[in-house]
Homo-oligomer: 349 residues x 2
Amino acid sequence: MMNRKILIVFFLGWAHISPAQSLTDVQSADEPLMLQSVGSFYLGGEKQSQSISELGGFSSKGQVTINQMYVNYMVPYRRTDSISFVLIHGMNLSGKTWETTPDGRMGWSEYFVRKGYPVYWVDQVGAGRSGFNQKHYNLVREEQVAAKNQPAFQRISDENTWINFRFGLEDQQPVQEAKYPIGAVDEFSKQSVPFALFGLPDPNPNYLNLAELAAELQQTVLVSHSQSGRFPIEAALLNPEGVKAMVLLEPGGSGDDYSDQQVSALATIPLLVVFGDNLENETGIAGHSWKTYYDAWGRFVQRLDAAGGKAQLLYLPDLGIRGNSHMLMQDTNNQQIADIILDWIKDNK
Amino acid sequence: MMNRKILIVFFLGWAHISPAQSLTDVQSADEPLMLQSVGSFYLGGEKQSQSISELGGFSSKGQVTINQMYVNYMVPYRRTDSISFVLIHGMNLSGKTWETTPDGRMGWSEYFVRKGYPVYWVDQVGAGRSGFNQKHYNLVREEQVAAKNQPAFQRISDENTWINFRFGLEDQQPVQEAKYPIGAVDEFSKQSVPFALFGLPDPNPNYLNLAELAAELQQTVLVSHSQSGRFPIEAALLNPEGVKAMVLLEPGGSGDDYSDQQVSALATIPLLVVFGDNLENETGIAGHSWKTYYDAWGRFVQRLDAAGGKAQLLYLPDLGIRGNSHMLMQDTNNQQIADIILDWIKDNK
């Protein structure tokens, strides 16, 4: 598909403003996008009464909502079938993960819609437009809670990202046949936002919110990434109604802690795990090894298979596809990866 | 325009999940939406080196980006003319403000596109997907900064919202001819997210980001709301290039501090200020009085007029339109209000 620039004029005469590479590079497809609907909603959440201190001092005391989840959606004018996709981002990121790539190409939120599937993409509770419970921080400010008990906001440095997301095996040194758009790594840096994971209640409220979303949509493929790897499984264990399949993109952690009974219950739902390239070469950082996670989820796939499930662990180099990063959905061959997933769903649903 | 439900099945058999009023109420128009493009980008921002403590302990030290602004956009397949709209939300909220209303009707982000205008809607730096500088909070956790110096996260309680946003003049008591969708006030509560206003540098980086966006888009109408009231003015003072008009919806604060020289410079740009109903009756809360702000911006309009500008202060009851709240863009007559603004722009651009 040919692309052309949409945006009109880049004002060059104003040198003290940094150039907006991101805006002027934004591309659009030749074919218009025909939507049945586009928009957003929140779901889940509960009320909590808070004091003036907890609210930050501006408002009078009263109720707020916590643990709600923000959901973007686009529904195509013509649907392929009854399947919908729900896309769940990873740590430090937001629903932006799935939108226009850092170098201005089409993201999966649009690509899946152009393939005829409704797409719902969320901000995790604790990130972006879902927000977080600010009282944990304001009570420290008011010296009602000890500073050391304040949950840390997680953020990943660009240098860490380079290696941990396998743009390179060393900082600023792209991997061979790198598929991440290396010229746009500084744009990707802007997508990193503070992550309030450690201020969330246990169990993580995202599980229940995703279970609810799938049960309402029906015929849902839950797609997770990295830190959200196990979210589709947790949602399906809460309520399998509506979960048609699960796709785990470069999931972190492992599924070793699920019981045989849980694995049996999950085996009715097809599951695909996808990893990019360079797992053998990764240097590892901050205690993280994607090779370790790959091996762990391989064990989980084997347990699902043994329980009669349809499960597959896909390492892209085994298909001859080289150089993919941790951010598969933003790599330059992101449409190729999407097509592989769509084909797998068609064959295994 | 007739509306119909898009969403398929609401799973009723699962009682311990709260009903997702927001999802099942989501409506879509009969006519498909034809887009040239849809997506998002970031603009602005600068690099900052941070320690492991500042990053929250998970990542190795290194650079992150701060003060960048997240921008959603939709560009219609057929444009009315060369004008674009930029929509800027108020305190405690995010770009969600302009999307699907809490009771599932079409928001302005879609309505303006259906009228043939490209729409760009942002998250303020300090909110939602733009994020904030988490180091101010993590350094307190590490006891490197005193807790009392930690910036407060602002949040407004539902009870405060009822009165301050003039859904009612008292909590739970809707105003006469209320235009806010009163049954969806609990859904609106979910849109309230922590606001990191007091952790931002001075001047507010949103001004420069908006100036850059307008300069790149050209022929831009900057639309602000409430706490962001003066943002279009600040952006235009930084760079008037590309600012075609300014619309201030229920702006807070005042313009009294702008110099005569600044007012002269601004008088070349048409400006419309719009307020809802019940300014005479408001009870005021937390030191805020929209009547006071209305009077202040009336003075500013007079100064612009005296300097040869095209400026208007519009109080909707003067057009016979009653019951509008502070959230004009979500009120049940939000399309009527949008049409008034679009007509004003056509007449005064």
